[in-house]
Symmetry: C2
DNA sequence: TCAAAAGTGTTCTTGATACACCCATGC
DNA sequence: GCATGGGTGTATCAAGAACACTTTTGA
């Protein structure tokens, strides 16, 4: 019954399909959010992704999917982990190389801006709402970003080019899900010298204007 | 010319082959060593690995290869990174999920014990002696193990069940490639409480006997 | 008694934590 | 003049770094 004439790529041994899935994070209203797509077949939410083309590098595939699904490029993107349980997708053996990406709210697409049912969801979404093993992929990504925040300086990847220290602190608080001490936070990020003041301040705010900073090396 | 009758697994879209490669470390003579196999085709050295079977989990495939290639099981094994440049293997598109493993010298096979040309090599081996992108996989594994050593306690995975603090320190010095202060090292590992004294000492040594320790939870 | 590795404590420095008030602006 | 968020310093504590000598055994 299967149209085997359509199936024209043949191998001596069975080959799995390989996809990239990208856990895309942003900050909305001081909360860490993840981009998910509602599947038309069962209404479950899925991490965006797609097949790796046969002559395409994994990183390239991830960048391409990121552009296609979220409409962003030149953002933080890093490989996360590869998930390959034989039954993780009921249709076919699919091994997925998961990536995670940090996108600033100004670059991040508006949820549902294209035809697809995409939207930003809280990262503590229930397992049953997610398709396949995507709950575990998401958990893995959240753990990674929390861990990386402690010993790297990826926080400002979630902010626009110019930002205040208060905004940066909100990002850290959103990701770590705890309040931080303002004075200690400022001391720490300033002595790391990963961000530089741009000698401008916020305008038209109903309080004292805040100094703006930028990621170093821009 | 190709025996297409032999190639019986057919797909609508091309599928890459997927392998697992395992960077197997041990300590020999106080130096960090890696298990490599000499390839018969070009004499280059390769990290052991093999194809993932179509109904096999990635971790299971890695464990199987570890048993087949190095003859060890129940050792530390962790996924490292997935390498998938389209031209990394000239024969076919092969995506490899790399793992790394830490094996104690007493469990580690003797190099060349089976028919294959396997052997233990220094981790700072030259790039040109290694096949494919295995130099970068090895570098990635060495970086990972160095990083993990700082904030976890995986060092004793490279030692027999019972070991002295001095042996543990030698492992750390081998991996980090620097001398450590004995008093500070002992203070640190003992307060971490990951190892426990077994109230035995080394015997028949031409100096003061050393207390033996074991990984906690054995 | 000597060689060889085992074992041990204190001082100093550095980074992390805890904590409270004045400042600049728009309305 | 008041509401709002911006911005600052010091004292304490804990962890890491530097550093030298005595102990126990076999030969």
């Amino acid at each position: 019954m299967a149209l085997s004439s359509k199936k024209k790529y043949c191998y001596e041994y069975p080959h799995p399909a390989v996809t990239v899935d990208i856990v895309i994070f942003t900050i909305i209203d001081g909360k860490l959010k993840v981009l998910l797509i509602e599947r038309s077949d069962n209404g479950k939410l899925a991490i965006p992704g797609g097949f790796v083309e046969i002559n395409e590098d994994l990183d390239t595939a991830a960048k391409r999917e990121l552009a296609e699904e979220a409409g962003v490029k030149d953002v933080f993107l890093e490989q996360l982990y590869t998930f390959g349980a034989p039954d993780r997708d009921p249709r076919e053996r699919i091994i997925t190389v998961a990536y995670y990406s940090l996108v600033s709210p100004d670059k991040a697409i508006q949820a549902g801006s294209d035809a697809k049912a995409v939207g930003w969801y809280d990262v503590d979404i229930e397992e049953k709402k997610l398709a396949f093993d995507h709950y575990y992929i998401l958990k893995c990504a959240v753990d990674r970003i929390r861990g990386k925040l402690e010993y790297t300086t990826i926080g400002f990847e979630l902010l626009p080019e110019n930002f205040t220290l208060h905004q940066l602190q909100e990002v850290y608080e959103a990701i770590l899900d705890e309040k931080l001490d303002t004075r200690n936070f400022r001391k720490k990020v300033l002595q790391q010298k990963c961000i530089v003041p741009i000698h401008k301040v916020t305008a038209n705010v109903a309080h004292r204007p805040a100094k703006l900073y930028a990621k170093k090396g821009n």
